[in-house]
């Protein structure tokens, strides 16, 4: 376990001590009227502080750990190349326990106590939605890496962005034609009965219909369910393909039970890798998945045609060709999502440089500069591939991968175009006041 997160622990420790000293000083003086505490960090060499709302504990902890590692790697790379506008990035981590209420508190703590410039890094959509009002009220830019269709839906506010990862609606829309053409015309969906599943439930059926296929059953599994066999009879016998997005620790049970239920005679399977992020695809019980297909944001396994940028990114983050930690082959990454942290940090860098960002007083300028972005070229800053960015809905769109599991590895068999996933925007944040 050497070297993991050391960068972070040090950074965080330093930040905390400083905070405490500040707190003591403020307490002793008791001149701590709100006006006095707001001093700007004016010096040009002072670090840009990015608050990282991390899932260190709670149900999102497996993802959170890799989000931290990717962030550390990206910050290291950015700082080594001169930082943002010549200023280094300093990351301040606060754990939100993957809890929506705590999430809002963490945003306030990062903004008001740690005096960070922006907040970044949230994954779980309930935490994003729970924190967004606070970010909007404090008028602090909030860059999430969540993939939920919440930012783009217009339900949040002008300070929330998702510029580093494609949202689920676009993902689902872009893979639907492939499913219809290759997996089958009659599809049964099995998805978790919570927010992440709803994006699939709501946007797959119309996309499939457009492609000439149909959803014949939708089975929403309640949260905390730990056994699934009893729901399998609800899968219609005419089903050609099962579309599964079971997220949570119970996914192995799900696959195992599906295998026991169908044996070798079942429908084809198409799944979202989200369920199996941080899980070794060769774990006992997952044998049934062999030969099935998965969506991947960024491929877990190194591919034959990987770009130099992709190779450099994998080396920087510290994952091997199987997508596990270089130091520990059992420590499997969340490769399909965590690239979003890397790319989001580079988007932040770009937007800050465009805005001539100097401190919290420039936050409105930063928001406008981010909204003005339109395209991110593939390269070291965007190793997953090219992205288009829609400033009105604060959402980016990129290529998606469909991989086949064979021989214990996931091999990309199809790459969607960016246009495959585009949909008519339903909102315009730029009309909101700053």
């Amino acid at each position: 376990m050497t070297g993991k997160g050391r960068f972070f622990d040090l950074t965080n420790g330093k930040a905390s001590r400083r905070t405490v000293l500040k707190g003591l000083a403020a307490g002793a003086g008791l001149a701590a009227a709100p006006g006095f505490v707001r001093y700007a960090q004016a010096q040009s060499s002072a670090p840009i502080k990015i608050g990282f709302q991390a899932h260190r504990t709670g149900i999102g902890a497996a993802y959170g750990r890799w989000y931290e590692r990717t962030t550390a790697a990206a910050v290291k790379a950015i700082n080594a190349a001169g930082g943002i506008n010549g200023r280094p990035i300093e990351i301040v981590v606060e754990d939100d326990g993957t809890d929506a209420a705590r999430g809002a508190e963490v945003v306030a703590k990062l903004a008001n106590q740690h005096k960070v410039d922006i907040v970044y890094g949230t994954l779980f959509s309930n935490v994003v939605v729970g924190s967004a009002p606070t970010a909007g009220e404090l008028k602090i830019p909030y860059y999430v890496v969540s993939e939920g269709y919440h930012v783009a839906s217009g339900k949040l506010n002008r300070y929330v962005f998702q510029p580093g990862i494609t949202d689920v609606r676009a993902q689902v829309t872009s893979v639907a034609p492939w499913i219809a053409a290759n997996a089958g015309k009659k599809v049964t969906m099995i998805f978790p009965d919570y927010a992440f599943g709803y994006d699939h439930r709501d946007y797959l059926p119309p996309a499939l219909q457009k492609a000439g296929a149909e959803v014949v059953a939708k089975i929403a599994i309640p949260p905390t369910e730990s056994s699934f066999t009893k729901y399998f009879p609800q899968i219609p016998s005419e089903t050609d393909a099962i579309y599964h997005v079971m997220v949570g620790p119970a996914v192995l049970t799900f696959v195992k039970e599906l295998g026991d239920f169908y044996g070798s005679s079942g429908p084809k399977l198409f799944g979202f890798i989200d369920s199996l992020e941080a899980v070794d695809i060769n774990s006992p019980g997952l044998e049934y998945l062999d030969g099935s297909h998965f969506w991947e944001g960024s491929p877990r396994y190194a591919q034959a045609d990987d770009t130099e940028a992709q190779k450099a990114y994998r080396a920087a983050v510290g994952i091997d060709d199987n997508g596990a930690a270089v130091a520990d082959a059992k420590d499997v990454s969340t490769a399909a999502h965590m690239f979003g942290c890397w790319e989001t940090l580079y988007v932040i860098k770009k937007a800050m440089e465009d805005a001539g960002y100097t401190g919290p007083g420039d936050r409105a300028k930063l928001v406008e500069a981010t909204e003005a972005l339109t395209e991110f070229a593939e390269g070291p800053e965007h190793p997953q591939g090219k992205k288009l960015f829609n400033g009105k809905i604060h959402q980016c769109f990129g290529h998606q991968n469909i991989s086949k599991l064979e021989g214990g590895k996931l091999k990309v068999v199809h790459k969607t175009t960016i246009e495959d996933g585009m949909y008519e925007p339903e909102a315009d944040y730029t009309k909101q006041s700053l």
Binding site: T224, E225, T229, P233, P284
Partner: protein
């Protein structure tokens, strides 16, 4: 699927759920019945059992069956020792005051969860079952290991029943449960009985977890649901009634399985929850008449 096979499947699933529930509730029933304390950390002992099973099986790296058997022995012993330690260091000093115990065991829950997260990690990890056998029915396949859990649960329940009714240890435990002061008057070392019961309850939870981990997985947050369900089983079954515990587990397991045939999954869970709540409301004394206070 036709109604008959569907019902068979739902019943099988219900039975497995019931077997699992009866096992996890067993330890809680003892602790709760004899010591009259609400051990909120009971689910964490269960989680520890599963995590240790993974650790033992992985460390040994031998045939899955060997790793599994080793885990069946090692995990309960380690968990029992941890429980004994926490009983000595904390619960005894609180004199088993009900409210103080709740706070203390919530503290214990946090500590165990954090240790598991820090030392074991946030991932869900599987343990290979000792054997893989798929029972092939005309309509669907079913896991042979799952069926064996029903048998194992039955065996363990019978063994516990024998210990409780046929041995001196069981007599002492029942006497303490019946009346603590009276037991003290009869020179029963109540403190040692409590320590033993607490450790035994934790060991049973760990044992159940080792049995179950091949069909679920070890995860550091897995303790909560078994805890809540076990409480329900213990209360509905009636305190200290083994018969009641088994029957309550069957009611909950089967209603969960069979209700799921007729409704969408979340609605089925909702209805099953209300059904069980109503059983409790209209039979507050439990199914076997022992008043739970």
């Amino acid at each position: 699927m036709a109604f008959g096979p569907h019902l068979l499947l739902a019943t099988l699933e219900g039975l497995v759920t019931a077997a699992v529930l009866a096992l996890t509730a067993l330890g809680l029933s003892l602790v709760f019945g004899v010591m009259r304390i609400v051990n909120v950390a009971h689910g964490e002992f269960f989680m520890l059992g599963a995590v240790l099973a993974w650790a033992v099986a992985t460390t040994l790296g031998a045939h899955p069956a060997i790793g599994f058997v080793a885990a069946l022995v090692v995990a309960p012993l380690v968990v029992g020792a941890i429980a004994l330690l926490s009983e000595r260091l904390v619960l005894r000093r609180l004199n088993y005051d009900p409210e103080a115990t709740i706070v203390a065991t919530i503290g214990l829950l946090y500590i165990i969860q954090q240790l598991a997260l820090s030392l074991y990690g946030p991932e869900a990890r599987p343990v290979t079952p000792p054997f893989n056998y798929r029972v092939l029915l005309p309509w669907f396949g079913y896991s042979g290991y799952k069926l064996s859990i029903i048998a194992a649960s039955g065996l363990l329940l019978v063994a516990t029943w024998l210990v409780l009714t046929r041995t001196k240890i069981g007599l002492v435990m029942r006497a303490t449960q019946y009346d603590r002061e009276m037991a003290q008057a009869f020179a029963i070392p109540v403190e040692r009985v409590y320590a033993g019961v607490f450790a035994l309850g934790a060991m049973l939870a760990a044992f159940a977890a080792v049995l179950i981990v091949p069909i679920s997985q070890a995860h550091y947050l897995m303790g909560q649901d078994p805890l809540l369900l076990s409480f329900i089983v213990v209360i509905i079954g009636g305190l200290g009634s083994l018969r009641g515990t088994v029957l309550a587990a069957l009611i909950i397991g089967l209603s969960d399985g069979i209700v799921s045939m007729f409704f969408s999954p979340t609605l089925a869970k909702l209805i099953a929850t209300l059904v069980v709540a109503m059983v409790l409301v209209f039979r507050p004394q439990g199914l076997f008449g022992t008043v739970a206070r």
